[in-house]
């Protein structure tokens, strides 16, 4: 267990800013997921923490010690790569023991460690095979084994599940989470898959254009996104947005309809400005058209998802998704009104795109 502290890390490639002053404090034993679309800088951040990529400015601290100028192997961390990066000409056993051989550990220790990790990951039967003789899932386990075998206090994962099929991915996700419960090492996990982020993380860092937009518990990222980007990126279907204006009395004005916002806890009480209302599909209810404080909408189509249904409406020129019971969705009228649960809504400043 070790803490990791990322301070003011900057990096640019050929004039393009990849990391724009990133700060992150990771507690010992925490499982942190760095989530973001491709090109947001998440893998670069991981590589800078690992020491594989140079930073332009800033520092990395591990357990309070500045490791910014140390070689990767001196930082006491292990890493699982997206393509697994097993050493092709070596058996699984040598893949696992290579790092310890270089470190000059005694043969008996190496053998014990390899046996321990092989048992933990159930790869004992594969030890004398070569990577080319393994399936994707098996290679994945060996790659994880190679990271765990030296009992590093910090483990880095660079999209480790993205090359597996959906079923295996779901299984490995659960196993990794259990592994973390058992080993309690600090884990930093990069992914673009929000399901992985939501299910595995103690905290999620959502990155966008080289910046950490929000670093919080997965549930608060879902319920209280800190910015318009986080709101749109996390959650499926994406959050519904409605542009409007807060008037002096604190009512949300959209067209000629005014909606009471007293149920919403504003963090910032300034009024009279342009805002964006964000609302998840499960926080919208369907009422008769003309009901006060409801927005008129026409039904476009309905997706039946088995357990529930998603109805898509055309509403003030925008597409709105509403999560409903299957029977309710089947009996839907073509023209209705939509009401929002203000306690669960999010308001963003139209100018800064930040939560207010």
């Amino acid at each position: 267990m070790s803490s990791v502290s990322v301070r003011q890390i900057r990096k640019s490639f050929a004039g393009l800013t990849v990391l724009d002053s990133v700060d992150m404090e990771i507690a010992p034993g925490e499982f942190v997921v760095i989530l973001g679309p491709s090109g947001c800088g998440k893998s670069t951040l991981l590589n800078v923490i690992a020491g594989l990529d140079e930073r332009d400015a800033g520092q990395i601290f591990i357990d309070g010690i500045d490791v910014s100028d140390l070689e990767p192997s001196q930082r006491g961390l292990a890493m699982v790569f997206q393509s697994y990066a097993l050493f092709p000409a070596m058996t699984v056993r040598r893949n696992l023991s290579f790092g310890m051989e270089i470190a000059g550990r005694p043969k008996t220790t190496i053998a014990e460690k390899v046996a321990w990790v092989a048992k933990l990951l159930q790869i004992e039967a594969l030890l004398d095979r070569r990577p080319s003789q393994l399936s994707g899932g098996q290679r994945q386990r060996v790659a994880i084994g190679r990271a765990l075998v030296r009992s590093s206090s910090i483990c880095l994962f660079d999209e480790p599940l993205s090359n597996l099929d959906a079923k295996l991915r779901a299984e490995t996700r659960v196993e990794l989470k259990q592994l973390h419960e058992t080993l309690r090492s600090t884990m930093i996990y990069v992914t673009h898959d929000q399901t992985e982020a939501m299910t595995m993380a103690d905290r999620v860092a959502v990155m966008h254009k080289g910046k950490v937009e929000q670093f919080a518990h997965p549930q608060s990222i879902y319920e209280k996104p800190a910015s318009l980007f986080v709101a749109g990126f996390v959650g499926s279907p994406a959050m519904n947005f409605l542009q409007g204006r807060l008037d002096h009395a604190g009512r949300f004005q959209v067209g000629d309809i005014g909606i009471d916002t007293s149920g919403y806890g504003f963090e910032d009480s300034s009024r009279e400005r342009d805002v964006v209302l964000g609302i998840r599909s499960e926080d919208v209810s369907v009422v008769d058209q003309g009901t006060p404080e409801s927005i008129p909408a026409t039904l476009a189509f309905t997706e039946l998802l088995g357990a529930d249904a998603l109805s898509w409406f055309q509403c003030l020129g925008k597409r709105f998704s509403v999560r409903l019971g299957v029977n309710e969705a089947r009996a839907m009228q073509p023209t209705v009104g939509l009401c929002f649960n203000m306690a669960k809504a999010s308001f963003f400043s139209a100018a800064s795109e930040q939560r207010i």
């Binding site: 890493m79 790569f81 997206q82």
Partner: protein
């Protein structure tokens, strides 16, 4: 490896096409093999049969006398020891020159494939330029440099020249191979604490067998068959076989012995033929591996 063409449904037209193809292949094979066949036939003839002047006639009394003479008693100038001393010189020059230029090229190529910057591209460009400048243009400066450091016309000198002239070629081939090796493998090795050289030796070289064989063969053939550099840079006691062969063939003293000349030429060619026969499989595989990745 092999393309199986179903013959069950072969129509007349496709059968005719196949016959045509085989006829062409056989004709080409004859065209390329005929000179070799002539050399073999005539090296087995005694001088009386040669003097009859019919190059294509099969030997009446085939024997290896000419081969024995070529091996140990043919004369070049005043020296009548056959090509035997040259064979040993050629081995002494070729083996270290091939090993050094191949391994150094591999190391260079790996470094250049790893080093991703504008400077690396510039160096790669210079290496490629080095590849295209003909030897003749570099001969004089090389002679000057080597004689300044006292390596001109010496054994070390000729090996050095072969290594240096081979490096652009081997570097380029290895670099192009290593560009296709995923970067994450080297990064993983670095995470495990392996140094650059350790990564190269323990992880990268073991996956390079095919390209090592291809480059090794190309270098071996090139250096073994070299005449120009051997003639200029090798010392009198380290002349390679090719130079000795020319001396025997061009010997102006005494009578000409075409059968001995042909036998000497064949002996000189045997090592390269052997290398191809023994490693042809790797050779084809290595070339294919370079052509289509994965």
């Amino acid at each position: 490896m092999s393309y199986v063409v179903s013959s069950r449904n072969a129509t007349f037209g496709s059968r005719a096409a196949r016959i045509g193809m085989y006829a062409f292949l056989v004709a080409s094979a004859i065209f390329f093999l005929l000179p070799l066949l002539l050399v073999v036939i005539n090296s087995l003839k005694p001088m009386e049969e040669i003097r009859q002047g019919n190059l294509l006639a099969l030997p009446i009394n085939p024997n290896f006398d000419a081969w024995v003479a070529a091996w140990q008693s043919a004369c070049s100038g005043l020296d009548c020891g056959g090509v035997r001393p040259g064979l040993w010189n050629s081995i002494k020059i070729t083996v270290p020159a091939v090993v050094i230029s191949t391994l150094t090229g591999a190391l260079n190529g790996y470094a250049l494939a790893q080093w991703k910057s504008k400077h690396a591209n510039l160096i790669m460009l210079l290496v490629t330029v080095g590849l295209f400048i003909p030897y003749q243009a570099m001969l004089y400066p090389t002679v000057k440099i080597l004689s300044t450091v006292g390596m001109f016309r010496s054994y070390v000198g000729i090996v050095f020249v072969h290594v240096v002239y081979g490096l652009p070629y081997t570097t380029l081939l290895f670099r192009n191979f290593y560009i296709g090796v995923p970067d994450e493998i080297s990064r993983a090795a670095r995470m495990e604490g392996a140094t650059f050289l350790r990564t190269f030796w323990s992880i990268i070289l073991p996956i390079s067998t095919n390209v090592l064989v291809v480059v090794g063969i190309l270098q071996f053939t090139g250096i073994w068959n070299d005449y120009l550099l051997g003639l200029i840079f090798a010392g009198n006691d380290s002349m390679p076989m090719t130079v000795q062969l020319t001396n025997i063939v061009n010997n102006s003293r005494g009578a000409a012995f075409p059968n001995v000349n042909m036998a000497a030429a064949l002996i000189t060619a045997i090592p390269t033929l052997l290398v191809y026969f023994l490693s042809g499989r790797y050779f084809v595989r290595g070339i294919a591996a370079g052509a289509v990745k994965g």
